[in-house]
């Protein structure tokens, strides 16, 4: 639908490219197959540009700009791999990895960290510097919130709020390094407005929010992502037609997600679609 958009011409890493008006620099980079790291960006969420790992250098701009949210402009000259860009990206990863457990972050995160030669240990002895180390919150049978893995990318807040679920059970509380994702007065999740749609878990990039099944299986040492098969089907719990991705390990469903590019769900589900699968294995 809609009118075809006119094209904007800009230069990225020395190459002249044309992209539709309204594209972001990140969109343009992806079209040009220039690999760009992201943490807080997701295709099904509004860019909040808080992680700053996607920054690029734009000629005429005093500071680096977040490619995920900056629209392209005619004549823009963009560098994605300058020394300044590499330093800032490396530092963002070093700052995060020095304060947060990154071990369960997506594989691409680790690939980028290797690529930029990240050495978080130079921030100081982990026992002596500020970190977000804390025990996981296990408050019900469906969710685990393991906030020592939280990089504060705001994705969960967006998925719980304006970008999908509109439940607003969680928000950022506190300030500065003490800022954290919280329910009101940190009440337990079952006492909050949470309706267990699992959309926060669906968008978490670092394993801070996990399904209880995964958390328990990891604790037991039985979680084996490599052996899991993913089958796409349609949820049975109402007539809306949400696509489900069933993650199956040893003929058991262990996790349910939805494709972010599915026009019905945009990757988001409700409690029934997300968790109502136990009857398939009883």
């Amino acid at each position: 639908m809609g009118e075809p958009r006119s094209l904007v011409e800009l230069t990225i890493d020395g190459n002249v490219v044309k992209v539709p008006e309204g594209s972001t620099i990140l969109d343009a980079c992806r079209r040009e197959e220039i690999d760009t790291p992201t943490l807080c960006w997701a295709s099904n969420l509004t860019p909040v540009n808080v992680c700053r790992v996607c920054v690029v250098e734009v000629e005429g701009s005093r500071v680096l700009v977040p490619s995920c949210s900056r629209p392209v402009e005619p004549g823009m000259v963009v560098s994605t791999d300058s020394e300044r860009v590499r330093t800032s990206r490396r530092m963002v990863y070093e700052l995060l990895a020095s304060s947060v457990e990154m071990d369960r972050a997506d594989a691409s995160v680790h690939a980028w960290m290797d690529n930029y030669g990240v050495r978080p240990e130079r921030m100081g002895d982990r026992e002596e510097i500020a970190t977000v180390t804390q025990p996981p919150k296990v408050q019900d049978e469906l969710y685990v919130r393991d906030y020592e893995r939280c990089i504060l990318c705001y994705k969960c807040v967006q998925a719980c709020g304006d970008d999908a679920q509109h439940t607003y059970a969680i928000a950022t509380a506190g300030r500065g390094f003490d800022a954290h994702i919280s329910t009101e007065s940190d009440v337990a999740l079952p006492d909050s407005a949470c309706v267990y749609c699992g959309n926060c878990i669906g968008v978490c990039p670092t394993g801070a929010l996990v399904f209880r099944t995964e958390f328990d299986m990891r604790a037991d040492g039985t979680w084996d992502e490599d052996s899991q098969e993913v089958t796409t089907t349609v949820c049975a719990f109402c007539g809306v037609g949400c696509n489900l991705e069933l993650h199956v390990q040893d003929n058991s469903i262990v996790k349910v997600t939805s494709p972010a590019d599915h026009s019905v769900t945009n990757g988001h589900l409700c409690i029934k679609g997300r968790f109502g699968w136990q009857h398939a294995q009883s």
Partner: protein, 596 residues
């Protein structure tokens, strides 16, 4: 709104009354017109969201803390999700989240100016005397420290200057406020921005008019909005908040917007450590701010003005609110401003302890009832400002300049100062000088002149360094006393006038500790939104603590450089961009001991 799940805590009658007074003008978000008809929805909730911060203030003022029951009541009335309201309430340092044992909290400034005049000892003494004490970042009274803010339950807050245990004890039980502003330059005929400060009765509209007040407004009505902006552009006035953007260009951009409504916002969230000039104007000449904003509204076609005053300035906020009330009563604000048939009104909003809210887009979010987290720019406020609508945002000093420009013409103004830095500038002079205070000088004055005008250094002191521009500025050495204070000369020297801070340190001051305190300030005041600033300010402070304990600068040099780079290059806003500036300059000047 829906799905909201409220807690089970009950508000006290006092809390209910305080919150209900805040929303009395518009009513609650959801109204049961009838058992079978409820009017509500996201639109009504959105319209009321900007009352969240005033409602939180009402709770804090009435009960001394944001109780769960009180917060719940606010959420029900405004239909704000409790998790979001909690997120907002915990963003600001002046809101307390545990039930207070006593009726007052004493916030003692232990920031860079006050800690050199005994603030740390005062904290100990107050604690020994049984007070509930909290350390505070700069309270904007650097010329008369140590500064204290007394936050009282059920009574207005008070500032206490040159505070002592006895003085604070007396203040808590009284209605007295801080001593009136004293201008070192009082009586000097050359004052323009400060001419009325200490001369007029700040509470009297008549007195203001008797001293030339509202002459600029009359001139503006006579020449019309377009000409006002032309004169402003001709004057060469640029913003005094630090970025020095041409004010005429900004106003023109707003006036040319198709979108309505438009807003005028006065950024009175003066929180840069070492800065107190705007407080001088707000306390000494509040009608000037009101008049200048009215002219701004007239010029850009805005119907609503907002003054956002930092929460640590209770006297300024009260004075401005009183001035706006008096102007409204006299027909100078409201639905028909001065018989023009045009509407313009001003609302005064109080901050609640967050330096970041001086960043203009964070300020917008704060007014709107969200966490004071800066927005990414572009888009800029002229097109997407307060409530996403076209907004002219200026700080107090910038606005007050408008009066003489409109009254006397842009050309006359441009004749002052230098060609590229026309006009006069306020300086906040503090530290080891004889007569600290707010000074007005023409642009082009040298740093040495400014120090000399303040009586020079106290006996036995030699300049070791001057902090220029505030915590977000830079240290300069004694060799720079001939530096002309203009936009162009400072820029060329890689410096910034910032908020006009000139804080003088001598050979006995502990500069390593000062630099560490600056780093601590940024760590405390980072909003936490973006990674470079949230973690970078922490790591920077950790390095400085290690250096203070005798760590090797050589080992930390690369890390400090990288931290500076990522904060400067990749942070969202000016806080992160400048958080390493003073540290960097201290390194360059060799002020961090044992440094090559």
């Amino acid at each position: 709104m829906p799905d909201l799940r409220f807690g089970t805590g009950e508000p006290t009658p006092l809390e209910v009354a305080a919150v209900d007074a805040v929303v009395s003008g518009v009513g609650p978000a959801t109204v049961a017109v009838d058992e079978r008809l409820v009017v509500g929805g996201r639109g009504r909730a959105a319209e009321r969201r900007n009352l969240l911060l005033p409602a939180l203030h009402a709770l804090q003022d009435a009960a001394g803390w944001i109780s769960p029951g009180g917060l719940d009541h606010v959420c029900r009335v405004l239909e704000v999700p409790p998790a979001e309201a909690y997120g907002v309430a915990t963003f600001y340092h002046l809101f307390s989240h545990s039930e207070p044992a006593v009726d007052s909290t004493v916030h003692v400034c232990d920031d860079i100016a006050c800690r050199s005049v005994g603030a740390l000892g005062l904290v100990d003494d107050l604690r020994s005397a049984g007070h509930q004490v909290r350390s505070s970042p700069c309270l904007g009274q650097c010329e008369r420290g140590p500064a204290v803010l007394v936050q009282r339950t059920g009574a207005v807050d008070l500032s206490v200057a040159a505070a002592s245990v006895a003085g604070i004890g007396a203040a808590i039980g009284s209605s007295m406020s801080s001593s009136p502003v004293v201008l070192p330059q009082a009586g000097s005929g050359s004052l323009r921005l400060l001419a009325r400060v200490g001369v007029v009765d700040p509470a009297s509209l008549d007195d203001y008019r008797a001293h030339g007040g509202y002459a600029a407004m009359e001139a503006a009505l006579e020449i019309g909005p377009d000409a006002v902006i032309r004169e402003l552009t001709a004057s060469g006035l640029s913003g005094r908040g630090g970025a020095a953007f041409p004010t005429g260009v900004k106003w023109r951009a707003v006036a040319d917007q198709v979108g309505r409504p438009r807003h005028v916002v006065c950024n009175a969230d003066e929180s840069e450590p070492g800065t107190f000039k705007d407080r001088t104007i707000m306390e000494g000449d509040p009608f000037a701010v009101v008049e200048a904003m009215t002219i701004a509204g007239f010029a850009v076609g805005a119907e609503q003005g907002w003054i956002y005053v930092r929460g640590e300035y209770p006297e300024a906020a009260a004075g401005l609110a009183g001035a706006a009330d008096a102007a409204r009563a006299a027909g100078l604000l409201g639905s028909d401003v001065a018989g023009t048939g045009k509407r313009f009104d001003i609302e005064v909003r109080r901050g609640a302890g967050a330096y970041i809210c001086g960043e203009e887009t964070a300020l917008f979010n704060s007014i709107e009832g969200y966490r004071g987290e800066p927005r990414n720019k572009p888009p800029f406020p002229t097109t997407h400002g307060l409530f996403g609508e076209p907004t002219a945002v200026n700080n107090v000093e910038t606005l007050v300049n408008v009066l003489s420009i409109v009254r006397d013409g842009g050309a006359a103004y441009a004749a002052l100062g230098t060609e590229r830095s026309p006009g006069t500038r306020l300086f906040c002079v503090s530290g080891r000088v004889v007569a600290p205070g707010t000074y007005e000088h023409e642009f082009g004055v040298t740093l040495g002149d400014v120090v000399a005008a303040a009586g020079g250094l106290v006996d036995g002191s030699e300049v070791r360094a001057v902090l220029l521009g505030g915590a977000a500025g830079s240290f300069v050495g004694p060799d720079r006393m001939d530096l002309p204070l203009t936009l162009e000369a400072t820029r060329e020297a890689g410096l910034s006038l910032g908020s006009g801070v000139v804080m003088v340190f001598d050979q006995n001051d502990d500069i390593v500790d000062t630099v560490r305190r600056i780093a601590e300030f940024f760590r405390d005041e980072s909003c936490g939104q973006c990674v470079p600033c949230r973690v970078g300010t922490v790591r920077q402070e950790e390095v400085l603590v290690r250096l203070g304990r005798g760590g090797s600068f050589h080992d930390e040099r690369d890390l400090l450089d990288d931290l500076g780079s990522v904060m400067r290059d990749a942070s969202i806003c000016g806080l992160g961009h400048t958080a390493s500036g003073a540290v960097r300059s201290a390194i360059d000047l060799g002020l961090l001991g044992g440094v090559s």
